[in-house]
């Protein structure tokens, strides 16, 4: 197992917890009677609403258009009537407006044969425009608009295209199932990106705990010049910068983007969306969500429409077997807790976890022992305790000098801390304060 490559510094081995879902085929969630579709499901400016209460919308109709350079379109997941434009908080803490759509009328795509189109004659700009129109965003969790990500800045070139199939977060197996069940779509997505970026090499990085997916991908891409690289199981393998280091041994300079070292990467789920957008003319209106955790009666992977309520997904998985300590959107190490079960599934919802007290293991923080376990866990070579102590004393400049901005918020340090010090929480808050101070100084 040690032969597989991985990133050099730090990393942790939390219990994987994937066994409960990784061997179960993806099931379809029932269609929502009411869909709540946020206009901010991506990083960047929220989409500009194109509908008003009372409007009738078709399935997959565009209801929000990009409102800036970094922004993405939003589509209606179901046919129906817009009853309300309301404001709500997403699990990530972001406040956004959302269209409430009541199911009504006929599905234009669902149940109909998929009409594919030949994209081989399309130009690069045309493909990018399709990604923009169809609201494709990164589905690994960061939800960065894909048409921006795949536009290479002038004077640069993409030497290597990396496919992020690490899925290193515990519990999550949605990407794993997608690799097994949508292998062809992923490969087709890669071919489209190949046309777009013209890379010299294409490498798919998969953690070695998914041997079936590795085999399947290898078979499927035998004809194409695509390499499949098994990686050692270690969190956070799927963090962009660490994945690049694991596969290529290159380090993205501090504060720079991967293109600086000639790399662009995308998650497997994103590639399925790219494929569906370009080949099938289908916008992002659904995604695969892992519903798991000790408190879920029948954990599984669910294909759900964007805007479905989390409550419906949990019901679809047999409801709650016991009272959870936490509800988490995303993976357990970087995900967000939420209380409102009526929160909608968005393009970035990779997992819904209901974790028991036993799984969470939280304790009140005690004094730092300077044991150095956070240092050993940090994949970025930082000294988290030193940054924390500076933040605690409001020495934000020093904290920045020690690498606060290089922190990828993976949570490895806080996970291992025997004193249960809320390191990530402090780093997030400090970055927020620095941003606000900078904004105030600007005027």
């Amino acid at each position: 197992m040690n032969r597989f490559s991985t990133f050099a510094r730090g990393g942790i081995h939390p219990p994987e917890g994937k066994g409960a879902t990784s061997n179960k085929p993806i099931r379809n969630a029932p269609l929502p009677a009411i869909a709540v579709v946020p206009f901010s499901q991506h990083i960047g400016a929220p989409a500009k609403p194109l509908v008003e209460p009372g409007d009738h919308v078709e399935e997959a109709q565009i209801i929000g258009e990009p409102a800036g350079f970094v922004s993405a379109s939003v589509h209606s997941p179901i046919p129906g009537t817009v009853t309300e434009i309301k404001s709500l908080y997403l699990p990530s803490g972001i406040r956004t407006t959302a269209a409430v759509i009541e199911l009504d009328g006929e599905f234009s795509r669902l149940g109909k044969p998929v009409r594919t189109r030949d994209w081989s004659e399309m130009g690069q700009d045309e493909i990018l425009e399709i990604l923009k129109q169809h609201g494709v965003v990164g589905q690994g969790g960061a939800t960065f608009p894909s048409h921006v990500k795949f536009s290479i800045p002038k004077g640069r070139s993409c030497e290597i295209f990396l496919v992020n199939a690490a899925e290193c977060e515990p519990y999550l197996s949605a990407d794993h199932r997608v690799m097994l069940e949508h292998t062809e779509d992923i490969i087709e997505g890669i071919r489209i990106i190949k046309k777009l970026l013209d890379p010299v090499r294409i490498i798919i990085g998969v953690e070695a705990n998914k041997p079936d997916a590795i085999e399947k991908l290898k078979d499927a891409c035998a004809a194409d010049e695509i390499e499949v690289m098994p990686l050692k199981v270690k969190y956070p393998q799927g963090a962009e910068k660490n994945l690049i280091e694991a596969i290529l041994g290159r380090e993205v300079p501090s504060g720079k983007l991967p293109i600086e070292v000639g790399v662009i990467n995308a998650n497997v789920g994103t590639l399925v969306s790219v494929c569906e957008a370009v080949r099938d003319d289908k916008p992002v209106i659904e995604r695969v969500v892992t519903v798991a955790g000790g408190a879920i009666a029948q954990p599984g992977n669910i294909r759900a429409r964007v805007g479905s309520s989390i409550r419906d997904l949990i019901e679809e998985c047999g409801g709650l077997a016991e009272e959870p300590e936490k509800f988490v959107s995303g993976g357990p190490l970087m995900g967000f807790t939420f209380i409102d079960l009526d929160s909608p599934v968005t393009k970035g919802t990779s997992g819904i976890l209901a974790l028991t007290k036993k799984e969470v293991k939280s304790f009140a923080p005690t004094a730092c022992l300077s044991c150095g376990r956070c240092v050993e866990a940090c994949p970025m070579g930082l000294v988290p305790t030193t940054i924390f102590k500076n933040v605690e004393h409001e020495r934000l400049d020093e904290a920045t000098a020690f690498g606060l901005d290089d922190c990828v918020l993976c949570g490895a340090c806080a996970y291992v801390c025997p004193s249960h010090i809320p390191l990530v929480s402090a780093f997030k808050a400090a970055r927020g304060r620095i941003r606000r101070l900078a904004a105030m100084n600007k005027g």
């Binding site: 510094r9 942790i12 380090e251 209380i339 974790l355 969470v360 004094a367 030193t386 806080a414």
Partner: protein
């Protein structure tokens, strides 16, 4: 739902470790040597260790009460300090001495700097050194161990004996074991390994300390870098240079004798590894351990005192902030 689920910042799960588990592990690792000290030196040993623990815990508890701080006794760190102070006492020390050492360790060295995590010197060692220089005679009166502690006979520690005997070395003595023999205290390596020699309560049995230390290292409660660097560098220096005082050449020192005597094992496995007072990074800990090894060698070889472990570790404790300032991990995307 009866109650709302928790809201928290990521990460949402946590490794099972806690300060209490770390300290509990250290106590468990010290237990065999504690039992052995009672077997060797009798019930007075139990009294000394119990008094140290009680004084440490009560001092910390009272300070918390007096200054209305949160209770910190359940992290078990005060108890660990107490046991280590007891371990550093000669067998028939008057009980007030470990009590004073404990109060000094907790109140002055640990608490006044901000409690667990903020002290920059190992409290147990500081307490030991404080009473060592205050009650020199009581702290250097040793007894030969006898099972059950009956008829305690006083006598110097092996290191103390050779320190004296080396001043008028006679012909034909090629090392510390022969020197002890000629000084009328024949001993074997096995005696030293098992702890059948005069010495501090908890330091004498290298075997039980090594077992406890291995337990801590394997469970990753303490790091391996400090013990390995400390013992390794110390052994290297002793091997290279200690033979010369017996007329031997370079690389003729008696490593085994020096590893098994004095407080080396206790110091290297349980005192130098105190995480609060050792460096944060792996490289830093190796430097720290090597520094401890070098200083222990220098004090044992050239100093007036037979022993150097306590002072060597304390000196390196002082250097820890400096080591942490200059020895840092290689940062991703910055130092490549």
């Amino acid at each position: 739902m009866d109650r709302l689920p928790l809201v928290a910042t990521s990460p949402q799960i946590h490794a099972p470790g806690s300060t209490r588990k770390v300290m509990g592990g250290v106590l468990a690792a010290l237990a065999p040597a504690a039992v052995w000290s009672i077997v060797l030196f009798g019930w007075h040993a139990a009294l000394v260790i119990a008094a140290s623990v009680a004084a440490s815990v009560i001092t910390e508890g009272l300070l918390n009460l007096a200054f209305r701080r949160n209770n910190t006794l359940d992290d078990l760190s005060a108890a660990v300090t107490g046991v280590l102070i007891g371990f550093n006492m000669p067998p028939d020390v008057p009980v007030f001495i470990p009590v004073v050492a404990s109060v000094f360790a907790i109140a002055v060295v640990k608490w006044s700097f901000g409690g667990l995590g903020s002290n920059w010197m190992n409290p147990a060692l500081a307490g030991r050194v404080f009473v060592f220089f205050s009650w020199g005679t009581d702290m250097t009166r040793w007894t030969l161990p006898g099972i059950g502690g009956a008829d305690a006979v006083s006598g110097p520690t092996p290191l103390g004996s050779i320190k004296v005997a080396l001043s008028n070395l006679s012909e034909g003595i090629d090392g510390p074991m022969r020197l002890l023999e000629s000084a009328g205290m024949p001993t074997t390596y096995l005696d030293l390994f098992l702890g059948r020699m005069p010495g501090s309560l908890g330091e004498v049995s290298a075997m039980l300390l090594i077992i406890g230390g291995l337990f801590l290292v394997i469970l990753k409660i303490v790091n391996w870098e400090i013990p390995v660097a400390y013992i390794g560098s110390f052994a290297l220096f002793m091997w290279a240079f200690d033979g010369m005082q017996y007329g031997g050449g370079i690389f003729s020192g008696d490593i085994l004798f020096h590893l098994l005597t004095g407080g080396l094992m206790l110091g290297a496995l349980f005192m130098a590894t105190d995480m609060v007072t050792s460096p944060l990074t792996r490289k830093g800990r190796i430097i720290f351990g090597m520094g401890c090894g070098l200083l222990t060698f220098v004090i044992r070889r050239f100093g007036n005192l037979p022993e150097g472990v306590s002072l060597a570790i304390i000196f390196m404790n002082i250097l820890v902030p400096l080591i942490d300032r200059f020895v840092k991990p290689r940062r991703y995307g910055v130092d490549s």
